[in-house]
Structures are given as C-alpha cells and as structure tokens.
Symmetry: C2
Subunit: 179 residues, 2 copies
C-alpha cells in the first residue's frame, strides 16, 4: 500500500527499527504523522525545486527554472510515485481535515510562485502584458502535472520531453515580440 493513508505506523516502525508503540508516542496520532510527512515533503520540495530557482536574476528565468527543476525532480525519481503532492492531491481531494488542508496549501503556494514569476516577467517586458498570469500559470502547471503522471505510469521519459517542448513553445508564444 502506498499513499498517505497506506503509510502505516506498524510498517514504518519496522522500517526504522523501532517498536510500534515507541514510534506512535513520537507523533501522538496517525494524523500527526501524516502532517509531519507532508511538512517534510514540502521542505524537500522547497529545497530541490523552488529555492534553487529563486536565485534567477529575472522573472522569466525564474519561471523557466521552476518548471525545469520540477521536471528534473520527477525524472530523477526523487519519489518512486512521482511528485509527492500530485499523489497526495489525488488521494486527499475528496477528504476533509488538516492533512488535506496542509497539502492544498502547499500546492496553492507552488502555483502562486508560478503566477508571481509570470507577473514579474511581464513587469520586465519578457512576457506580453496581454497574457493573463492565471491562465499562463495554469497551462504551464498542466504540462508539469501531465509529464509527472505519464512519466510515472509509463516509465518512459518521453512525456518529460514533451512537457519541455510545450513549455518552450508556450513561453515563446508569450514573448512580446513573437506573441
């Protein structure tokens, strides 16, 4: 079993060489363990996807770096099931509670990072001002999500390359001179 619900205290305890009750005492409840898992995944995502992109000198470069870092963390199989939050979102989408809320918040922040990079790129003149940042971020995120999903299912890097082409094409279409 996989996923946040399949993460069992019993199996995790065995994996780390602790007793079930000993590990349980550390978290207090399964929900707390799930929250800690999502929080840790969020930190890791910041570390390997978002933060390395924040040093980019311009908005358009930051936008490209965000997309590329995401695709690389997928094709490097940081998680066996692809992007942690894509899996988590699919699992938690119809549930209620703090675990879902936290996961949604992380995903929302990620999307906002992309929108902000688009707006900055517009302010710098690298993206046409007629582009709707929400719309453009949606389309870029769509390529990333599709690449993640198809790559994990097919174990074939082709979708990653298709996403790279789609992103390049879309950003080209959004540049003021070529748009």
């Amino acid at each position: 079993m996989e996923g946040l619900d399949g993460l069992s205290i019993a199996r995790l305890a065995e994996a780390v060489g602790m007793s079930k009750s000993g590990l349980f005492a550390h978290f207090g409840s399964k929900e707390e363990l799930q929250l800690a898992t999502v929080a840790t995944a969020s930190e890791l995502f910041d570390e390997i996807v978002i933060n390395p992109a924040l040093g980019a000198p311009t908005g358009i470069e930051r936008l490209r770096a965000l997309c590329e870092n995401y695709l690389r963390h997928v094709e490097d199989s940081v998680y066996p099931g692809g992007c942690f939050f894509a899996s988590a979102a699919a699992e938690l989408d119809t549930r209620l509670g703090p675990v879902r809320d936290l996961a949604i918040e992380v995903v929302g922040d990620w999307l906002e990072q992309q929108r902000k990079a688009v707006r900055d790129a517009q302010a710098e003149g690298a993206i046409d001002p007629s582009e709707d940042p929400e719309q453009l971020a949606f389309e870029l995120e769509a390529y990333l999500m599709a690449a993640n999903q198809m790559f994990v299912i097919s174990q074939d890097p082709a979708p990653i390359e298709q996403a790279r082409r789609a992103i390049a094409r879309r950003l080209l279409a959004a540049t003021p001179t070529a748009g």
Copy 2:
C-alpha cells in the same frame, strides 16, 4: 477511504444490502471486484465521453468534442473525485498486476483516440501538418488533467474554463492559416 483499494467488500455489501460472503462469491476475490469496477468505469466513460464525440463529421470537431465531453463529465461531477481514471492512475501508478494493466490500457486507448483525431484533422487540412500529433495530444490531455485535478481540489469551476481557453488557443495556433 476511497480509491480502488479503499473499495472494501464489507462496505460495498452493506451498501447494496447483501452479506459480505454473498457478495464475495460473486467476484471470487477483491482483485476481480476491482477489475469489474474498472471495466464498468470504462464502459461509462465510453458512453458519456467518447461515443457522443464519434459522430462528429470531421477530425477537428471530434477532437473538440472529446475535450469538451471530458470537461463536462468532470464539471458535472459524474464521480465525486473527478475523472475515475485520473484517480485510478494516481493510485495504481507504482503497483503491479492486472488491475493496473487494465487501467493503463484504458488511459492509453483514450490518448490514442485524441491522437487519431489530430491525425484525421491533419488529413482534412484543419490542423497544420507540421504539428506532431503526439505532442499536440499531450498538451490537450495536459489541460484536461489539470482541469480535473484543480476542479476537484478547489471545488471551483475556474480551472475548467481555463482549460477551455487553453484548448481553444492551442487549436487556433495549430490551424494551417493562423499557425
């Protein structure tokens, strides 16, 4: 619990007013129940998404109908968790066995339907011959997947509309005269 693994014979039996063992005898194993579920979902998907589009007189109209029917079945909440196969694919992606194989086959057939519609539209001159059908189908499928995921998570129809705009824009860019 949700998903194909969360579908338990015990709860299903209670829901349909049968005994657990009585219902179990119908399928023989949980795996068979999951296979039957996927098969039924596939038939329903054919019925409400694919088949109504097959009557379209041209490839480009069929392509548009496939996308629109998919979006509509998402926003109509045919399933509470959005597209059945998007959820199933996310759940089964790292698993092995016939259930995964069947789900992947259905998703593969769906993507092939889109590719074929693109090729037909090219043959009819409605889509530029320089477009790679694989690439275009990937991008359209990406919009659909993203709309599904975001709609279910946010309970907000905005992503559906963003997908419609993205599809319209992408198909416009792919027309021979405007491309």
